[in-house]
Every structure is written in structure tokens, then in C-alpha cells.
């Protein structure tokens, strides 16, 4: 299923290193075990959403859609506007302009109807520490409109699915971070929502717990749930989401599948050149502009994409012949971080 040839090549003059890289995973729609039906009805549509807090424009005219069975990722650094966007989508905030359409109807024309369709997993662990996992699930189920017996039955099922049945009677305050996150997720699922909004649901937990949660979310999408997933983790967006919207400073800078976003860089190869580049002027280098596009340049590093179907060996040869002192050249497939770098001029991890 997943590409078996993740590759990243580190080149030091005279030496070639092959490094495995998560960023280099080449995922396609079909890698998720199913192919998204792009004709599927958008369950959620955000249209020209705008939100200001005084002088600050937190979300600036954002548009996106989430279809049934699709995981749509909103990727951006902290403060990019992800939570504000999700808050508008779930009705916690009213947009200053634009509209949120849930299953064809404006959210605010019937908020209760929209809320019955959606489940929301907040970024914070919003649970009652004094209550057990089962009691929390049952309470949130009743808040979602379930009868007490139905909430009880579904809580039992979810505890099994989330591998928490053996701790069901313990107070949530005694749970580990990963267990709390799982219950936090489960509390949004009791009423089997068709649209799930997840606001950074894996923040602050260990990699193993994160993998379990991501696996569970994939299962929900397979069952047809439309999922809006915000994150600032590149790996999550790359491996989980079928379509990704890159957001920064309240603006949706780019949107598409992972491969569509990678193609924005103009090619399938990215060269990272380390060296003394303070006074370098790549635009004046002979033939450089014909083959490469500068993504980012600093005093010590130059990131360039190679256009067309050029042979990596030829490209490397050309780069090593540049009129600058090159200490290292790394060849890799473009990642979302590179896309973000190109779009914003800085790395997502900064």
C-alpha cells in the first residue's frame, strides 16, 4: 500500500548517504485503502469565512469543503487560525463574514440541526476528571440527544473500540494522557456523527498513543464519516489526510492532495545545498535558472527544486560545479514542510 521506497539522499562531495525519511513517503489517495469519490456530496462547506478580533484578522476569507468519507487536514503553525476556523464551523464563534454550510444548509439557519450532525473533539481534554470514562461517555451521549439506555450501550461499544474497557470504571483523572485523549475523542462519537471536527486531537501524547488514535480516525473515515482535522504535525497531515489545506496568518495558502501540493514546487526533486552562500546570487549563475527554481535561500543554505524530468546525477553534477563553496547537498522529495517553506518563507517547525 504505502510506497516502499522512501528515500532521502545526503551527498557530501565524494560520499553518498541514503537516509529514510517520513517526509519522503509518497502517498497517493489510493494508499489509504480506498479512493475518495470527488463527486461525493460536501457535508461541510466553509465559504469566504472571515473573523476579526479587533485589529487582528484571525481568519481571512477561507474556503474549503469536506466530503463524506474524506479526511481534510488544516495544516498550519500555532496561531495560524486553525482553531478559530473550527470554532466558526462548529458554531462557537460567529463569522464576521462568509458562511458555514452543513449538509446543504447554513449553520446558523438551524444550529441545533447542524450540531446533531457533527461531533467535535476539542483541542483541550474537556472531560470531567471526577467521573469514570464510562460516565463521561454516557453524559456526553445524552448531551448529544441520546436516551440513557442508548448512551449506555454505545459507551460500552466505544470503550471496546478505544481499548479502554478495562479502565471504564476508573475516574478519568487517573488516566494517562493518551487514554484521556481517546476518551476525549470517544465523547464526540456517541451519537455517530456524520461530520467530525478534530482540533489537534493528538497534542501532547506519546507516538504510540498517537498512532492508535490516527488508526481509529482512519477507520471512521472508511465508514463514511467526513472529517475536518486540524494539526501542526506534518507527518499527521501527510499520512492521514486525503486533502490538505495549508493555513497561515488566517489565510488558506494552498489546498490539494499531498501530490498536488508537492507538484506546486515545480518538480519531484528538491536539492538542499549547504555552504557559504552569503554573497551568492543564484540568478546570475550560468544555466541555473533554466533547470532550478529557488525555494528558499539563507546565508548557509539554498533550497532549490529541479524542474522537468532531469536526471538527479546530472543535477548534482551541475550543483557541485556552482561557483560557491558547497559543503553538502541533500536530495529529497518535496515535503509539506517544503511546500510551507515555499508559501511562507519559513519552516512549519519554526
Amino acid at each position: 500500500m504505502l510506497s516502499t521506497g522512501p528515500w532521502q539522499t545526503g551527498l557530501i562531495p565524494g560520499r553518498v548517504l541514503f537516509l529514510p525519511s517520513v517526509e519522503a513517503l509518497n502517498l497517493q489517495d489510493s494508499d489509504f485503502g480506498f479512493r475518495i469519490s470527488h463527486a461525493a456530496m460536501p457535508l461541510l462547506k466553509a465559504h469566504q469565512l472571515l473573523k476579526r478580533f479587533g485589529e487582528i484578522c484571525a481568519v481571512n476569507l477561507i474556503n474549503f469543503e469536506v466530503r463524506e468519507g474524506e479526511i481534510y487536514g488544516l495544516l498550519g503553525p500555532n496561531g495560524a487560525g486553525k482553531t478559530t476556523t473550527i470554532s466558526m464551523v462548529c458554531g462557537l464563534l460567529k463569522p464576521d463574514a462568509g458562511e458555514v454550510v452543513v449538509e446543504g444548509l447554513n449553520f446558523w439557519s438551524d444550529p441545533q440541526r447542524a450540531r446533531r450532525i457533527m461531533g467535535v473533539v476539542p483541542q483541550e481534554v474537556a472531560l470531567y476528571d471526577e467521573l469514570s470514562g464510562r460516565e463521561n461517555l454516557e453524559f456526553w451521549g445524552r448531551m448529544a440527544g441520546l436516551t440513557a439506555p442508548t448512551a449506555r450501550d454505545r459507551a460500552g461499544e466505544l470503550l471496546e473500540s478505544l481499548s479502554l474497557a478495562d479502565r471504564a470504571q476508573d475516574a478519568v483523572g487517573t488516566y494517562s494522557g493518551g487514554m484521556k485523549r481517546r476518551i476525549n475523542l470517544g465523547c464526540a462519537l456517541l451519537h455517530r456523527p456524520r461530520l467530525l471536527l478534530l482540533d489537534e486531537p493528538t497534542v501532547g501524547i506519546d507516538p504510540q498513543a498517537r498512532l492508535r488514535i490516527l488508526e481509529f480516525i482512519r477507520g471512521l473515515a472508511t465508514d463514511g464519516t467526513a472529517i475536518l482535522y486540524t494539526t501542526h504535525y506534518l507527518e499527521e497531515a501527510e499520512t492521514l489526510c486525503q486533502r490538505i489545506g495549508i493555513i497561515d496568518h488566517g489565510q488558506l495558502l494552498a489546498e490539494g492532495t499531498l501530490s498536488e501540493l508537492q507538484r506546486r514546487l515545480g518538480g519531484s526533486q528538491l536539492f538542499v545545498i549547504d555552504g557559504e552562500l552569503k554573497d551568492a546570487t543564484p540568478e546570475e549563475w550560468l544555466g541555473f535558472r533554466d533547470r532550478f527554481r529557488v525555494i528558499q535561500k539563507s546565508d548557509h543554505q539554498l533550497v532549490a527544486s529541479a524542474g522537468g524530468e532531469c536526471d538527479p546525477a546530472d543535477c548534482l553534477k551541475q550543483l557541485l560545479a556552482l561557483p560557491v563553496r558547497v559543503q553538502n547537498v541533500t536530495l529529497k522529495r518535496p515535503s509539506l514542510n517544503d511546500v510551507f517553506l515555499q508559501l511562507t518563507g519559513r519552516e512549519l517547525r519554526e
Partner: protein, 386 residues
């Protein structure tokens, strides 16, 4: 039809929220101290500190009786003394007596002959002077009553000597003129457990519901629980109602315990007025719960809420007459007491507990409390933030 369904669904959610909040309150055992133990302890100790002769806990004053009169008038005098609230003691209970009364052997005989006679009032060795005046007053009242009956009989029979049956018959009749002279036309001043029970109920209800309400709302806002509730199909009205309802349930638990202990262990007489007392306390709990939610909505800093609630509830208790009767404070402070809900709640409870009034006597105070509740609830709903 659809609107009705929505209202029903909203009510169901409000009940669920309230029941859940109550469950969480009871899981936090440390709060039991403030909910139950402190109010009971303060009721008990304050009840003793402010005890008066009319207090339920105060024993009847004892009078040692040495009745040497073989006739019936000695017995009739003793009956009058009993009706004046004195406990008549024999020689075996001598150490419980505050004073003594000696009825001479010729008491009946001399009275029937219309001759002057005297009863002896004496000090019992070992008893103090503090209660002597009260015993003396009651003795004088009993003698006046006996004289009254003798005069009434003489007028009715043209001076015939009275028989025992005739006199007892007169005693059973309702007096044509009654002077309610207990407090010389003023309201009695509530004392003892009659003061400490409603006082502590009113104070601790306000304090606990302010603190628990404010702290819970602020903590749930910090943890994101309120925002999570807001993204469910739960209307704002149902959310605020549920929060207030949960606090009222907590108040009910406190009310039930204190009233039960007050009646069973402390002897506070509330018979026949339970309904009015419960209505008063429920309305008051609504006021306090709404104020608690209001504070939690307005004050975001969780750590400041407890201090603020204490700053509000303790002065309200003092000014409202929870610690001492309002009758003993200057008039300006009595006016201030009626600007705050504690003053009205204490007025209503004193009407019902100390003065023996019914719902009609407390309805004005309950009405004012309802206005306080409506205003606080409206403000809480208006200011509530997730």
C-alpha cells in the same frame, strides 16, 4: 409542535446537566466539610451562644413546691403556675429549682373565708439570682389569674364561696380579654436555635452556592467543558438552567440535612409550616445559585472566585441578620438588610419559625426573594460565557 419538542428536549438536557453536576459535587468529599459539617457545628454552637428564655433549647424554669394546703385552691394555684411556663418540682428535684414556693396549710380555708393569706416565696440554697426575676414575674401572673377567677366567680354567684369544679370550669373558659403581653407589643427577638438554624442555613446556602457555582463554572470554562457543551445541541437557556438547577439540588441536600437536625436534635418547632419554610428556602437557593453562576460568568480568574464569594457572602450574612437578630442593630443597618436577599430570607424564616406565622405572613418576603431570583437569573443568563 416542533417548538414544544425543543422545549422538552431542552428541559431534559437541563435536568441531565443538573444531575451530573450534583454527582460531581458529591464525588468531591472535601466539600462535605463546608456543605454539612460546618453549618451543623455553627448552628449548634451559635444556638447556645444566643440562647434566650424562649429558645427551644432552654429548659423551663424550675420552682420548688411545698404545698401544705389540703384544700383545692392550692392545687388550682399550682395549675396556674404550670400554665405560666414554670416547671413544678418536688423535694427530690430540689437542686434543679431556681426558687421555692410554700403554700400554707390554711390557704384554701382563709381564702374561702375571705381572709387575707400569703404564700411564701423563698430562695433555694445553691441557686443563682439570674432567673429569680423571671420566676417571680410568672408567680405574680399566676396569683393575678387566680384572683381573677375568684372575682369572676363572686360576681357571677353574688358572693357565694367557690367550689373546685366551678373554679376549674372558669379556668377552662376563654378569657373575655386577653393581653398578649409577652413582648409588650414588639415582635419577639429570635434566640437560640430559632436564630442559629435559619441564620446558618441562609449564610451557608449563600456561601456554598456562590463558591461552588462560581468555581465550577470558571473551572469548566478553563477546561473547555463549557465550550464542549456549547457545541452540542444544548441551548444556552438549557445550559444556564442546568447549572442553576444542579446548584439548587446541592442546596436542597443542605436544607434537608439542617432542617432534619434542627427538628429532631435541636428541637426547633416547625410543625405545620414545613411547606412555607421549604418554599422560602427553595426560592432563596434559586437566588444564591443564580448569583453563583453569575459570578462564574463574570469573573474569569478561578483563584479569585473563592475570595470574592467569601467577601460577598460573609457581609451579607452579618448584614442580613444571620449572626444576630436584626432587632438589635441600628435602623440604618436594618434598612441595608432589606437591600440584600439574606435580610428578606431571615425575615421570612423568623416569621415562620420563631413567630409561628404561616405562608400569608411570609408571602411578602418570599415575593421579594422571587424578584431577587429573577434578576440574578436574568443577569446570569445574559453574562454566561463559554
Amino acid at each position: 409542535m416542533r417548538a414544544g419538542m425543543r422545549i422538552l428536549a431542552g428541559m431534559k438536557r437541563a435536568l441531565d446537566i443538573g444531575h451530573n453536576d450534583l454527582r460531581i459535587f458529591f464525588r468531591q468529599r472535601a466539600w462535605y466539610v463546608w456543605l454539612f459539617i460546618m453549618p451543623l457545628a455553627f448552628t449548634y454552637f451559635m444556638g447556645f451562644a444566643v440562647q434566650g428564655p424562649g429558645s427551644p433549647g432552654a429548659p423551663q424554669l424550675g420552682l420548688l413546691i411545698e404545698n401544705e394546703d389540703p384544700g383545692f385552691l392550692g392545687g388550682i394555684l399550682l395549675q396556674e403556675l404550670g400554665e405560666q411556663g414554670l416547671r413544678l418540682l418536688g423535694p427530690t428535684n430540689r437542686n434543679e429549682a431556681k426558687r421555692g414556693l410554700k403554700i400554707p396549710p390554711d390557704f384554701t380555708e382563709r381564702v374561702l373565708k375571705k381572709e387575707k393569706t400569703s404564700v411564701g416565696f423563698f430562695t433555694v440554697s445553691g441557686s443563682g439570682d439570674e432567673a429569680a426575676a423571671l420566676v417571680e414575674v410568672r408567680l405574680v401572673r399566676a396569683l393575678i389569674a387566680l384572683h381573677g377567677h375568684l372575682v369572676e366567680h363572686a360576681l357571677a354567684t353574688a358572693g357565694q364561696p367557690p367550689s373546685e369544679d366551678a373554679l376549674r370550669d372558669l379556668m377552662r373558659r376563654e378569657n373575655p380579654v386577653v393581653l398578649d403581653s409577652k413582648y409588650a407589643g414588639r415582635k419577639p427577638i429570635p434566640t437560640g436555635f430559632n436564630l442559629s438554624l435559619p441564620g446558618n442555613l441562609v449564610m451557608y446556602l449563600m456561601m456554598n452556592l456562590l463558591i461552588f457555582g462560581g468555581a465550577t463554572v470558571a473551572a469548566e470554562r478553563r477546561s473547555g467543558v463549557l465550550r464542549r457543551l456549547a457545541v452540542h445541541p444544548v441551548s444556552r437557556a438549557a445550559l444556564v438552567t442546568g447549572k442553576i438547577y444542579g446548584l439548587m439540588l446541592l442546596g436542597c441536600a443542605q436544607i434537608a440535612l439542617l432542617l432534619a437536625v434542627g427538628r429532631v436534635l435541636l428541637g426547633v418547632d416547625m410543625s405545620g409550616r414545613w411547606f412555607s419554610i421549604l418554599v422560602t428556602l427553595l426560592v432563596y437557593a434559586w437566588v444564591a445559585a443564580s448569583l453563583g453562576v453569575l459570578i462564574g460568568s463574570v469573573v474569569t480568574a478561578e483563584e479569585k472566585i473563592i475570595g470574592l464569594c467569601l467577601l460577598l457572602s460573609l457581609p451579607m450574612a452579618a448584614l442580613g441578620g444571620c449572626w444576630w437578630p436584626l432587632e438589635i442593630v441600628p435602623v440604618p443597618l436594618q434598612i441595608v438588610a432589606h437591600l440584600i436577599p439574606t435580610g428578606w430570607a431571615m425575615d421570612a424564616l423568623h416569621q415562620l419559625i420563631s413567630f409561628g406565622g404561616g405562608f400569608a405572613q411570609a408571602k411578602e418576603e418570599i415575593g421579594v426573594l422571587l424578584l431577587f431570583g429573577a434578576a440574578a437569573n436574568f443577569a446570569a443568563a445574559k453574562c454566561f460565557r463559554c
